[in-house]
Amino acid sequence: MATIDVSFFLWGVAGLLIVAVAAVALGRSAAASNLVYTATFVLSAAMLVMLGLHLISAPGTVLKTTLPIGLPWIGASFKLDSLSALFLGVVNFGGAMASLYGLGYGRHEEAPHRVLPFFAAFLACMNLVVLADDAFAFLLSWEFMSLASWALVVSHHRSQASLRAGFIYLVMASFGTLSLLLAFGLLAGPAGGYGFDTIRDMPHGPMVVAIVFVLMLLGAGSKAGLVPLHVWLPLAHPAAPSHVSALMSGVMTKVAIYGFIRVVFDLLGEPAWWSSAVLIMLGGITAALGILYALMETDLKRLLACSTIENIGVIFVSLGLALAFRSGGMGLAAALAFTAALFHILNHSVFKSLLFFGAGAVINATGERDMEKLGGLIHRMPYTSFAFLIGCVAISALPPLNGFVSEWLTFQAILQSPELPQWGLKIIVPAVGGLLALSAALAAACFVRAFGITFLGRARSDVAAKAGEVDRFSLLAMFVLAALCLAAGILPGFVIDGLAPVTHAFVGGSLPSQAHLPWLTIAPIAETRSSYNGLLVFLFIAIAGWGAAFAVHNFASRRVRRSAAWDCGFPDPRPQTQYSASSFAQPVRRVFGSLVFRARETVDMPPPGDLRAARLTIEVRDLAWDWIYTPISVGIAFAAVRLNRLQFLTIRQYLSLVFLALVTLLLVLALWT
């Protein structure tokens, strides 16, 4: 059998880059969109197939190669191990689906020449990040990934909102890359060994480990959307075209998590116990805040972007638990938590792509992102609404779909943690468990709202009333993803077994093999301890529901009469009398809002006799902006005004400034050593 090596994937990346250049050449021509998306689909699918062949033919082997590009005498090295393989799969599967969806969706793009080149380049860079095996290649591809996605965010450059989103994203991305740069600088040490193998073998002092951990949290966390570094995410992800939003939310955040796992679990050695506590706490807060943000949004795509923040939080909680268990020497528990994290990474990349595709279909059909202007689409877009519904059930962590399995694994991991020796963790973990349960329940509320307002009820605008079903490519992409949600939900044992090599390599333990258990049950620790069988739950619900319907229809009544809605005898035909997205969120806003958002409702009620309409104003604030970003931006503006004076000095003053700076630096150097 022919051997597959890394160079194959690098050829794939080169192919994507060539497609990007060709897309520039094609410009605005009519065929450009079809050609580019077909090419990216074929390349991503080919890489996926080769990855599958590699994993089947030579499981457990690590492939390496070094290219003579990049830094002189060092080159750029690339490696494919179990973790890279997993994320390479996520990237290329997401890429293939987004390309497939783009074949239909991309036709409606008014400025394809601003999207196509960067789309292909974006895919190529994400592939390179997960393959990179030295700090230079990693940072370079990371930065190009940020820039390509930035270009996609500002592709609709006439909209003020896109420009603002692009600016904030650019600032946050530069900040993130700066943190990563410093982290790798510290890891490489004074000797400057930038290869990952060198870094891994080098001992790091506890101070370096601590600083690198914090820098990674800032660098990868800002890309992934960890609170309080999440502020750019709900602005930037929705600003891009929908299939790019799907890639950014579903795939790029996972690439960020890959970077975090690679450094913290692999290169860094053993971080102190408090780092796991920080991860668990930040993750819990991120999950709860993210879903509350999502509940306050009325823009469908922003809602989805905010829910990404929640899912990132869930993943970070599991990662923190895995880190804590690993340093506590509890191999099985660490494997359980790590499996939960990886499973949720896979799940989220699938259902978030699905939901963004659904949102894109809605935008295509209606031109409207605001949920307050949608409604009743289940009649106009039956297939899209069905696929979107599957995604909603999956992301709300309900059985028998895949979201529940990873949530369940996370809870099982939490139940292992009283064995941990540290008191701090003993107190944090149950509280975070409560936060996770809260965010899961709020996620259900959020997606009842998202689906109920967008697809159910009566149309709230003319465009929604006249919407039509979307094209077949978009539907195909959505249904493939929906089928995967179901498959991973009812056959989780195979997924867990597939993740075993990664957990074995990175936390030093793996769960017992699941696929051979009777009835395809999963029992991560032992069957007496906990077990779940998605297949049987699915079959039981299907049989009980179908049986009940069959019995009722055959032995009782199957007559149906259509009539006007009852609504307690006073139906009002105007669609404005329905519950809206804001009114649905009102109870939750009232319960959590004053605490989390400083939410304030002001009612402007005109006096009797005045014919003016009454107004209800709701003010919801993001405290991260108020407490962190506004002071920073005010400080920068203040400093800029002060430093502005330096712009108008004479040449002599400049020369003396340079001289002074030189003397100061030399003095510092002299005192330092």
């Binding site: 289940i378 259900a444 009842v448 077990s531 779940y532 069988n533 619900i541 009940a548 149906v560 109870p587």
Partner: protein, 318 residues
Amino acid sequence: MDLIRALLIQGLQMAVVLLLAPLLTGFVRKIKARLTRRQGASVIQPYRDLIRLLRKEAVLADNASWLFRVVPYLVFASTWVAAALVPTFGGGLLFSWTADLIAIIALLGFGRFFLALAGMDIGTSFGGIGSSREMMIASLAEPAMLLTVFSLALVAGSTQLSTVAALMSSPEVGLRVSLGMALVALIMVAIAENARIPVDNPATHLELTMVHEAMVLEYSGRHLAMIEFASSLKLVLYLSLIGCIFIPWGIAAPGAGLVDYLIGAVAYVAKIAVGAVLLAVFETSIAKMRVFRVPDFLGAALMLGLLGTLLLFVSRSL
């Protein structure tokens, strides 16, 4: 032979919860009526209601979608599956490993998710208000319930309901502070989840604070029958759950003889009856809360659950 017996017991359990559910609802109503010095309808009235509703034609709003017609069966099926996995008269159910306590809660969440969607399908203000409030209540009740499960799981070392129930009936558990907290939290959650007073009122139809009944306002005929049936099943489920965890005496061990199962059945009926009487007394002696007091009520349950779990995390013996 063992397999046939296990299948038989599992099947019997499924039939028992199904047949008992309307009776329990009727019994609670009867007791409440007697407590308020009314005659009250017969205890078998819910069966008659169900049969009457099943025979009637279903009236659908003009803009009802396919989801509206599917949801009643989905809600019924998920609740029934969940109820069939909670031990009633005998432990060691054949399919108990299919779903542990966390999955049972999630199954109920599945039913609620679809019911809330159905409430929004017609696009009426009543449906919306019901769905919105139901999800708000659930967003607090579900974490409280999960934290209770954490407490139980930490004591029993398992989230499997059969294992938990078996351990609870053994003498090694004893009285524990955390279990007491879990019991109180579980009862509070059960009251909220079953839409009972003081959280919601199952008897009213036209009141501004109503939650569950507003959500299902547009349903009629056989669809309404399935939803009512599911509500009754949910009540049975919660009473069985509290019974098998906190008063586990009498539950027949797996592989026990016929006499044990008879004792188990008698004990189960007695437990459920006592639970129903207590529920009725509680409901008649307390006033309905304003809807925005409910978060305080459930917040207390949440805190109790958290405190119980926390105690178990720091000390395994409390």
